[in-house]
């Protein structure tokens, strides 16, 4: 299991702010994501039609989540009827064991992997290695971070924070390739190396972008071709997915492909979409002999139990919220301390790994709402963040200094006199250290942080209420 560092957000984010390379990565490459999405949408849709697509998708997802048991049962029966195996894994350890059992059964020595965020939750690569099996990431970005032994920086572009020089260094070290600053050359190096793997791997592990209940079909949305390789070349294909990635009907797929491709990579559609419902038929020329689908809980029940948080299970992992989040765009993915960064990560990570440890994450947002504006399935992310803040406080896990400050605020806001008294007190404390009506350095619990970078105004001598009473005519009218 990857280490959960959600409690290190504060320090990790400050570190990221001072990391020139991370800041570079969060600039122009991301503008690309943002502009790409906008152009791709505007090329084919008006704002109204795009919004109505989002509403339809939100409704389908909501219905799917409300009937998750029904649809999971349908997926199971259909995939098995197609000749595939279906496993229900309670948590990471359970899922890892299932994979190991399948690997052992088929005497697997090498595994090729295409993108699966759930498999990162599981830490499957480490587990395979510990059991003498060599896992190779085939998604170029995931391959790079696998070599670098890092967690993904972004949902869609996991290695976006790496410069081409850094990638070259990694390839030189692990693949013994010649140094190069040419990105195309780097891709060729990776391609050749991975092609060897495709040809010899015993088992392919993929994720699933969608799972269609009606027909028992796993849908993969990719651009490189590694998704197809992983699910076509080896003898055994294992698809691992969170249990929420379901869609009811095959006729829902068109809508979701349209939303996902534009929201994630600014494309009308990705280069490849694979539709996998089971193992190869006897007459097929190639393809895996065995197909396994592993549906993983790993804490998702906690999201399901909460009527508000349940909406988070609609996420189709497009990354648009990350791309448009002004906080993410300043600190990047590693600061969030686990598999999922950005607004969706700030909701899902605490619930799946522990609210107390991750208690800073739901607060790491100004609730500006830019994420909600772009979410293709209309998740009200700020609402969910607020809900988690409330939970943290109600559970007694809030920061005690903040609790104290809020208590004082609460008390001061009871009456006009108390409010004015509180303001007068602040003025008393601040005036001596102020210059020109502003304070440059405030040492105070909770609010002291203001003066890191900003001057703080000393409250005026006369409150508006007094001015109103004395100069503006007073009265309640």
């Amino acid at each position: 299991m990857p280490q959960v560092k959600t409690d290190q957000f504060k320090s990790a984010s400050v570190k990221a702010l001072h990391d020139a390379n991370i800041q570079r990565a969060l600039g122009a490459p991301f503008a690309h994501f943002v502009d790409g999405r906008k152009s791709a949408i505007e090329a084919d849709y008006t704002e109204e039609s795009w919004d109505s697509m989002r509403e339809r998708a939100a409704a389908i997802k909501a219905q799917t989540i409300e009937r998750l048991d029904y649809y999971l049962d349908l997926v199971d029966r259909n995939v098995r009827r197609n000749g595939g195996h279906v496993h229900f894994a309670n948590d990471s350890a359970h899922a890892n064991q299932i994979v190991l059992d399948i690997a052992k059964q088929h005497d697997v020595k090498t595994v090729i992997k295409s993108k699966s965020m759930v498999s990162e939750e599981m830490g499957i690569n480490e587990v395979l290695e510990q059991n003498g099996i060599e896992p190779v990431e085939t998604d170029l970005g995931e391959y790079i971070i696998q070599l670098a032994k890092e967690t993904p920086f972004h949902l869609i572009a996991p290695a976006v924070h790496k410069t081409k020089e850094q990638v070259s260094e990694l390839f030189e070290k692990f693949l013994k390739s010649a140094p190069t600053a040419d990105i195309e050359r780097l891709c060729v190096i990776a391609r050749d190396k991975l092609r060897e793997q495709f040809a010899k791997a015993d088992m392919g592990i993929s994720g699933a972008n969608f799972i269609v209940a009606e027909t028992g079909t796993v849908v993969l949305v990719t651009n490189e071709g590694n998704g197809r390789m992983t699910t076509s070349a080896p003898r055994v294909h294992v698809a691992i997915s969170g249990m929420e990635k379901l869609l009811p009907a095959i006729e829902d797929v068109g809508l979701f492909l349209r939303l996902l491709a534009r929201s994630a990579t600014g494309q009308r559609i990705t280069s490849y979409n694979s539709f996998i419902s089971g193992p190869r038929a006897g007459s097929d020329e190639d393809g895996p002999e065995e197909f396994h689908l592993i549906l993983v809980d790993n804490g998702r029940l906690e999201l399901l139990k909460d009527e508000v948080l349940r909406e988070a299970l609609s996420c189709i992992r497009c990354g648009a919220c990350l791309n448009h989040c002004p906080v993410y765009r300043k600190v990047g993915g590693h600061a969030y301390g686990w598999v999922y960064p950005g607004p969706i990560g700030a909701i899902v990570s605490p619930v799946l790994t522990g609210l107390k440890q991750a208690k800073d994450l739901p607060y790491a947002s100004t609730l500006c709402g830019a994420c909600r504006d772009v979410c293709p399935v209309g998740i009200d992310l700020p609402k969910l963040l607020l809900h988690l803040r409330h939970k943290i406080v109600a559970d007694g896990a809030g920061v005690w200094a903040e609790r104290l400050a809020v208590r004082r605020w609460h008390n001061a806001m009871k009456t006009r006199q108390k409010l004015e008294g509180s303001v007068r007190l602040s003025r008393l404390l601040l005036k001596p250290i102020a210059r020109g009506g502003y304070v440059k350095r405030m040492r105070a619990p909770v609010v002291g942080g203001w003066t890191k970078g900003r001057d703080f105004p000393v409250p005026a001598a006369k409150s508006f209420a007094r001015i109103w009473a004395d100069e503006l005519g007073g009265g309640r009218s």
């Binding site: 490189e224 590694n226 193992p279």
Partner: protein
């Protein structure tokens, strides 16, 4: 092949899901979902409409396909006859400098004599199909060793410039994946307008001929690409980087 056994953990797993949703008994009725609810006669009607409109709008669909395919970095060629199409393929192969060429064994190759056209310039393509003399294990070796693949498609969707390829006897998955260059041959009658049209047809097949519904099919909507290094676009990573679409009238 016997149906795989149900996971012994399934019942408990689903029970926990149900409880989390505040329910105690499973849902038995089909949900009120717009397309799931559509029974066969209604769906059949829908499919008839789609086929009718596809035929009626053929010219417009093809124009849309050409436009979208070009935008998606396909190199698009159009030919009026099967023979002309074979000529186009032969030219592409000659220009590509590819020596090891493979093809699938679609019916279309009976109408488009690619073998003949290529043999004029050298060796014909290797057919990636197993038979008495060629074993399936050879398919992989031949595919990975090839430089150019020639494939038919089952459908071409104009909305997204997606070619649908369904693997089966004579149609290996690797034929359109392993070589660095790919030529797909699209008969005008195979062109559909939208993704929804395609999925409606697939559903119809599923409802009426479940046993013959393919367990695997792919959309190929352009060249293989990645922007994983510094968000700089590179074409041709694990799949073909150069893709040609030859649209012809059979």
């Amino acid at each position: 092949m016997p149906t795989p056994v149900e996971d012994p953990n399934k019942a408990a797993f689903l029970e926990r899901v149900r409880e989390s949703l505040g329910r105690h008994s499973p849902i038995l009725a089909t949900p009120d979902h717009p397309t799931l609810k559509a029974t066969l006669p209604r769906h059949e009607e829908k499919v008839r409409t789609i086929l009718g409109k596809t035929e009626a709008r053929r010219v417009a669909n093809i124009a849309l396909l050409v436009k979208n395919a070009t935008e998606a970095a396909w190199q698009v060629h159009q030919a009026k006859t099967g023979a002309a199409a074979a000529g186009v393929v032969s030219d592409i192969v000659a220009n590509s400098g590819a020596r090891n060429v493979v093809r699938t064994s679609d019916d279309l190759f009976k109408r488009v004599d690619v073998d003949g056209a290529l043999r004029k310039h050298g060796a014909g393509p290797v057919v990636l199909a197993s038979n008495r003399t060629r074993r399936k294990s050879e398919i992989r070796r031949l595919a990975f060793g090839s430089e150019l693949g020639i494939c038919g498609v089952d459908y071409a969707i104009a909305e997204t410039a997606s070619c649908v390829v369904i693997p089966r006897r004579g149609v290996a998955r690797l034929a359109s994946l392993a070589p660095a260059k790919l030529i797909v041959l699209v008969d005008e009658s195979q062109v559909l307008e939208t993704l929804d049209d395609f999925f409606a047809l697939m559903r119809f097949g599923f409802l009426t001929q479940r046993a013959r519904t393919p367990n695997y099919y792919n959309f190929i909507s352009g060249p293989s690409r990645t922007a994983d290094i510094e968000q700089t676009l590179t074409i041709g990573v694990h799949g073909p980087g150069e893709v040609h679409m030859v649209i012809f009238t059979g």
